[in-house]
Amino acid sequence: MKVLGIETSCDECSAAVVEDGSVILSNVIATQIELHKPYQGVVPEIASRLHTQWISQVVSAALKQAKLSIECIDAIAVTNRPGLLGSLLVGVNFAKAMAATLGIPLVGIDHIRAHLYASQVEHPLEYPYLGVLISGGHTVICKVNGYDEIDVMGTTIDDAIGEAFDKVAKHYGFGYPGGVMIDRLAQKGDPLAFLFPGPSLQKGDHPYDVSYSGLKTAAINQLDQFWNGSAEKSDENIAASFQRSAINILTKRIRKALDDTKLNRMAVGGGVAANSLVRRELTSIDKVEVAFPSMKLCTDNGAMIAALGYRYIADGHVSPYDLKTSARVAAFKRSYP
């Protein structure tokens, strides 16, 4: 079964064709393809969010790369939650029109579930596993009992981990994309040049929650205060020290979650899953099998939507053609006790 997956929930306009949930025939992301009009060369980051301008070209490119005509598509999966309503609607309406015209099944997909599922395309794990989503917009630690069944254990209480990377990189002029530049600089830096404090979580916060606002503020506004007094205040040392602290915050919670749930499998997703220290730290946890998505499945992409969509359709769960969009998903916004 060939499923077309469409993702327009925030920054990226992406479409992909995946066969039987595991063979990626194409995975096109607007920011990464050469389009000649109206911009020369690669689509600038700022324009990618104008989904109406790209959706038709991106879907065409996905079909072309998969060497398939539109009639060969068996079903369409589309992100319908959570995200920006205006952006979600572009993808969802496009998918609806296409599915109705072709008379094929349509299924609405949860963006967060798709990220937690992304690694399963190439590295399937048995359920249940610990799911970790680390990106610019989300930081979620959860127990994944099935592709549709997720218990959220902890989230960020302020900034997402990827956002902290981005803001620190931007402040020090490390270049774009911020996360990649910090990872690169950190290879040559002293991770103990600055000893940033851990997060101050209040009572009532969940034991698996993380916080990045304090670390961001410390790294940007209070550098001198946390300097070890001897190392050079270089970009490399700032990057290495910040990265070490940011990832420590995360791995501490992940280790606790693994211990408490006694899970020995873990799947990681989201843009920060591409970070080399994250990969090194998490793969070094004893007796835990870790699945990481390949680089192109870390960031927002249509392939993870198509792959997860296949699972729903195979189990007979399809959406009506009047599929609704939702800016938020209640399960990922649990209230505090």
């Binding site: 925030c10 969010r49 610019g136 960020t156 503020t217 506004n221 800016a327 916004k333």
Partner: protein
Amino acid sequence: MSSMPEARVFHCISVDDTFALGIKIGEASPSGSVISLQGPLGSGKTVLAKGIAVALNIDEPIVSPTFTLVQEYCGTRRLHHMDLYRLEGQEEFESIGGEELLYGDGITVIEWSEKIEALLPPHTINISISINDDQSRTITLRGLRL
């Protein structure tokens, strides 16, 4: 119709001070308010937003909307928290459906609102935060009587 209140300046020594001021602002803001928040990175904009959320009886954590652009919360009144840091300008704001949120019935808090200056309603409440040398914050409030 009362005249526009004058600017008021607050001196916040700690995060708790900023948070408490946020609660007062949330309580005083009528439904339909648009609150513009300005200040450098790490100055406490999100802390102020957290206080506003408490005043609306929102019991979930207020997380940064920098990447998601908009976060929506339901309490006794609806809160839309927007961050336009990554937006290029008005066209993009309109394409994500931002204008509808400016004239909703809840409270809309906008960080980096200067990017859509011309679209802001006249009743917009302006808050600007600056960081002092001793790490305390000076917070200036315009357009709202506390």
